[in-house]
């Protein structure tokens, strides 16, 4: 009999992130698909009661919590101790958790401690013949596998955005607090804070419906034989301001700075999509001045509708990857787009 455990951490506001509710949806669906299975919930945080109450109407029959000031910080040593204690208390055989940066850091170590196995970047959970299976991608989103495992506990880190969020209602949950022995836990690491760009300079917006991808063409010589980097910078930032799109970039454009070439100062490796960048999930994507495989296959894997602006009508990477390819000068098109959106927001 499988014991399915939704393992989540609470956010700084004491509640659950959307990604946790998505994992709860996957856990509930698997619980329904495997007759006789149990569904438990385990939460980690400074205080977990409000988070547990917020999902009290879900099919889980038991709630566990690891609470205390130590668990308010996202830190390997304390998180590993808490997650280990919770999985042991629940005697979990299948642990489903959101693939947040916090859990990505720690849960494979917990699987190791418990003699289990782990699969991350899970995009689907199902069952074949009553045995659970997961879908995940290999070789940077180039091929998709369906796999199963006999070892338990089996940790499944579910990629945010890959599942619907559980809309189960609130109520009153009875949380069983699990003691975590911190005596032997390293306290050599302290979380000092969060570093982020000013709100006006933040260009990465995971919740935006639109991803705007910039390629190296923005910094190359244009039809007049000159580069127009300041103009490109203004056009891109204006576009982001009026659309609230998230900004992605090809590797080549991000790397230009390291090669001493003209750069767009608001771009960093955090904006990079593709082979050594992110594979974000957005409903729509608009690429501009991109001519590589990375943004159009790897980086765009989970983009719904895709359009591209390029001067090359035969761009092999856009053709077959984008739904629409506009053969045009991105400077002129984006300038007009900005004007239209500014006039009719």
């Amino acid at each position: 009999m499988e014991t399915i455990l939704l393992l989540a951490h609470v956010e700084t506001d004491g509640l659950l992130a959307k990604s946790a509710r998505e994992s709860l949806f996957a856990a509930s669906a698997l619980h329904t698909a495997i007759p006789g299975s149990n569904l438990f919930v385990a939460l980690v945080g400074e205080n977990v009661q409000a988070a547990a109450d917020s999902i009290a109407a879900c099919p889980a029959i038991k709630y566990f919590g690891a609470t205390g000031a130590e668990f308010g910080q996202s830190r390997y040593a304390t998180d590993a101790a808490a997650a280990t204690a919770l999985c042991k208390a629940a005697q979990a055989t299948l642990v489903i958790a959101p693939a947040t940066s916090r859990w990505n850091r720690v849960l494979s170590g917990v699987a190791q401690r418990l003699g289990g196995r782990v699969d991350s970047h899970v995009t689907g959970i199902a069952q074949i013949g009553g045995k659970p299976t997961v879908n995940r991608w290999y070789y940077r989103q180039r091929m998709e596998a369906v796999l199963g495992r006999t070892q338990r506990p089996w940790f499944m880190l579910v990629d945010p955005g890959s599942q619907p969020a559980c809309d189960c209602g609130a109520g009153k949950a009875a949380v069983e607090l699990v003691p975590v022995n911190l005596a032997d836990v390293s306290r050599r690491t302290t979380v000092v804070g969060i570093r982020e760009p000013k709100a006006s300079a933040q260009t990465i917006r995971p919740d935006s419906p639109l991803l705007f991808v910039t390629g190296a063409g923005w910094t190359k010589k244009q039809a007049d034989g000159q580069t127009h980097v300041p103009e490109a910078e203004k056009l891109i930032l204006d576009f982001l301001n009026v659309t609230r799109a998230s900004l992605g970039s090809s590797k080549s454009l991000v790397d230009l700075g390291g090669e001493g070439q003209a750069v767009l100062p608001f771009l960093s490796h955090l904006n990079q999509i593709g082979q050594t960048g992110a594979t974000p999930r957005h409903a729509k994507g608009l690429s501009t001045c991109c001519h590589g495989e990375e943004p159009h296959t790897v980086g765009w894997r989970f983009i719904g509708e895709r359009r591209a602006i390029s001067l090359d009508p035969n761009c092999g990477w856009a053709r077959g990857k984008a739904d629409v390819l506009y053969v045009a000068d991105a400077f002129a098109v984006i300038s007009s787009v900005n004007a239209l959106l500014a006039a009719n927001p």
């Binding site: 720690v106 299976t133 091929m143 596998a145 995971p206 639109l210 077959g320 629409v324 787009v337």
Partner: protein
């Protein structure tokens, strides 16, 4: 600055410009013509190696090891380039570098190899690697290596490591929404899974390459064979996505007309 023993874990992956196709092999899925595909050092592991080299350069007396589980013939080819980047000593394990191998078995093999390095001083030990690979792309192996080595101060998605005057480490890790978490660790031992970091790829230095290759070749010759059984792991299928979309090419419209169409699409 104190001297460090920096161990970088990194394997090889197919050149990202290659077309990859899965095939069913006797021991599970594999890539078609896998041994024929040109290979590179895994990109994020490469960043970890460059960061290690830079740290070692700034902390006199430090030493860098590259521990790699790869088919040794392919690893030798990759070393011809990588060995020219930064000084290191190779510890080679001869085994598959496939993305379909089991991470826990890879971690056990890497940790075992690290533990055999003579003169290892845990109080000076920093274990580096890529936070994910370009093959399995799971981001789970390094943590298990750390568990095998008893390292409880671990960081993933690292973009910056600063050694403070008191020897403590300030580490920036990527978190959600384009932000970094800033942590302070008292010092080694620590494990860092690197994202891209801040350093450009070092230029090839033939002198570094010659010095490295004097150790690389003997290491490759005595590389211990590693079998990865993939126990308990079964693949129900590995498929390529349906990649091709029917692309509508728009080339006879003015920028203003295209802009109008894009605005309508964005607002839809």
């Amino acid at each position: 600055m104190n001297a460090y023993q920096i161990i970088v874990c990194g394997s090889i992956v197919p050149d990202p410009l290659q077309t990859l196709e899965p095939v069913a092999g006797a021991a599970g899925p594999a890539l078609k013509n896998e041994m024929m595909l040109p290979a590179i050092l895994d990109p994020w592991a490469g960043h970890a190696l460059f960061e290690a080299g830079n740290l070692a350069k700034n902390a006199p007396g430090s030493k860098v090891w590259l521990v790699s589980l790869s088919p040794k013939a392919k690893l030798q080819q990759v070393m011809m380039t990588v060995a020219q980047k930064v000084p290191f000593e190779l510890v080679a394990l001869d085994g598959p570098a496939s993305g379909f191998t089991e991470a826990s078995e890879v971690a056990a093999a890497l940790a075992g190899a690290i533990q055999t390095i003579p003169g290892l001083d845990k109080s000076r030990l920093l274990v580096f690697g890529g936070w994910e690979s370009a093959s399995r792309g799971a981001g789970v192996t390094m943590q298990m290596v750390g568990e095998h080595l008893g390292i409880a101060d671990q960081f993933q998605g690292v973009d910056q490591l600063t050694v403070n005057p008191d020897g403590s480490l300030e580490i920036l890790e990527r978190i959600e929404g384009g932000k970094h978490q800033v942590s302070k660790c008292d010092g080694p031992p620590a494990l860092l899974g690197w994202a891209t970091g801040n350093l450009p790829e070092p230029k090839n230095n033939p002198q570094v390459g010659m010095a490295n290759m004097r150790v690389v070749m003997p290491s490759l010759q005595k590389a211990k064979p590693v079998k990865l059984a993939g126990e308990g792991l079964t693949f129900a299928g590995v498929t390529l996505p349906k990649q091709l979309r029917t692309t509508r090419i728009v080339k006879d419209k003015s920028p203003a007309e295209i802009a109008q169409e894009i605005v309508q699409w964005i607002k839809k």
